[in-house]
Every structure is written in C-alpha cells, then in structure tokens.
Symmetry: C2
Subunit: 167 residues, 2 copies
C-alpha cells in the first residue's frame, strides 16, 4: 500500500509541472505564485525558452510548505526572513522549504535538523529537559550533605553525564 511507484519512464523527480498544475496541486494562488517567483522566494527550477515556468517536484514541495506555513499563521515576511537566515546558517541548502522539517507556531518558525531544534531567525537553541534538573538538584543535595552549602551550585554550562532525552 505504500510503495513509491514509478513505472515506466514516469519518474516523479524528472517530471516538471506547469503553473496551472502547480496551482492545482499546491493550492497556492496564481497571484502568489507570480509574486513569490518575482521576489525570489520560490523560483521555478526550469523555464521554457519563452519564459514560462516549469516547476520541479522539489519546487512543489517548497510551494506547499510555504502555503502551509502561511496557513498556519506565519506571515510571508517572516517566512522570507527565516529562509534568508536559514541559508546563512546552513549554506549547503539550496531550498530550505523543501529540504528541512519546519514547525510554525504562529510567531516563530523552528527547524528540525539533525536531531536538534532551533529557531530559524536567531539560530537560538533551547530545550529544557526537566529530568536534568532533578539530577542537578540531587547532585546538589549530595554536596550539601558533605559540606554545608556555599558557593556556585548550578554552573550554567552543565556537563551532562547520564544523558536523558526528556523529549
């Protein structure tokens, strides 16, 4: 039920799509398609000699991704800035919209990349595994038991042994 069929010469990755097809498949409006192409957000990877768009499959993914993020409440400007920032952070990416897993939260776009989560604009990364606090305080407790507590107790960058995912 789940095989990626590609019988005959009908290779999906080699197929190109017209604007009309891209519109139908992704749900992006004609106006948006044109505008996004104009501002360079999503440029069709191929063109006819006459300048007509030919969207590749990764292009469609980018289009659909953009649409979903927008539907999720992300403004186009934030999206553009995120992509600019992302391509700076991860220069090897050609089209972050089709190559990354993104998560929109109304205000912010996060990217899941190689196991980590970070914010697209700042690159800031933050996770709070509560389990770790428990260990820290337990540690602390032991220390206190030995010498009646004084001094720095939670040195911010904490060398985590006994690693635990928490999420």
């Amino acid at each position: 039920m789940c095989y990626h069929s590609q019988k005959g010469g009908n290779n999906l990755m080699a197929t190109v799509f017209t604007s009309r097809q891209a519109i139908q498949i992704t749900g992006v409006s004609q106006r948006q398609l044109a505008y996004w192409r104009k501002i360079g957000l999503i440029i069709p990877s191929q063109q006819t000699p006459g300048g007509h768009a030919r969207y590749t499959f990764p292009d469609l993914i980018a289009l659909k991704t953009a649409k979903r993020l927008i539907d999720a409440g992300v403004s186009l400007q934030k999206l553009r800035k995120s992509i600019t920032a992302l391509t700076r952070t991860l220069p090897h990416l050609r089209q972050p919209l089709s190559e990354l897993s993104l998560l929109a939260t109304g205000d912010v776009i996060l990217v899941f990349h190689e196991g980590a989560v970070f914010e697209t604009l700042t690159g800031q990364e933050w996770i709070l595994p509560i389990a770790q606090f428990q260990r820290e305080v337990t540690q602390q407790q032991k220390q206190q038991g030995l010498a009646s507590g004084q001094g720095e107790l939670f040195p911010e960058a904490n060398p985590a042994q006994c690693h635990e995912q928490g999420i």
Copy 2:
C-alpha cells in the same frame, strides 16, 4: 555514576528548602523569589507557622525552569501568560513549570506534551513532515495519470496511510 542516591531518610521528594537554599540552588535572586511568590507565579508549597517559605523539590524545578526561560530571553509577562494559558489547556496540571518540557525560542514558549508540540499561548499546533508532501504529490501524480486532472487535489485534512515521522 548515575544512580539517584537517597540513603537513609534523606528522601529528596520529602525535603524542603529555605529561601536561601532555593536562591543558591536555582540562581534566582531574592527579589525575584519574593516577587514571584507575591504574584503567585511560584508559591512555596509549604510554609512555617511564621510565614517563612519552604520550597519543595518540585518548587525548585519550577524556579529553575522559570530562570532558564528568562535567561533564554522570555519575559516574565510572557511566561506568566503562557502558564495561565497552559493551565487552561491542561487543567490537570498544578505547576506547568515543573511538570512539562518547555522550549523557549526568544519569543515563544513551546510545550512538548504527549508527543505533540504546541505553542503555549495559542495552543496552535503545527508540524510539517516533508515526507508526507512527497506522498501526496505522488498520489496526485497517479490521479493525473488516470484522468487528466481537475478538481480539488489536496483536501487539507489528509488521511495519512504509510505514516512516517519525518522528525
């Protein structure tokens, strides 16, 4: 190297901490401790007859969590609003700060809860597994092959067979 030691009657969960200890352990300032207590953000679970604070271990976790979020750039007001919203969304929680995994991204606080991720203030949830698009478009391709495409192609709520995590 990683056993949660609790020799004798020294059970961590039963231990209570004075304000001074809470300050030392969590790094929260005295002023903050007092203010947060006053506004009800983090109230010590226990008190002496004379009204002196006795913070339990979960209290310490809440304190440390708040501090870390603040250090990560979240304002106290956003933190307060997030917690208000969270306890509305998840009424069974007594203290979200100690019972949830939170992730701060400068602007927004996300919560990881039962496998899902959402934004604390709006409850909005969004994940974009790219792998799914691929399947959708493949599907679309097949349809097009049979009947030259017309009509709705990406009915938004898509019944995902062949589920794939993507993240």
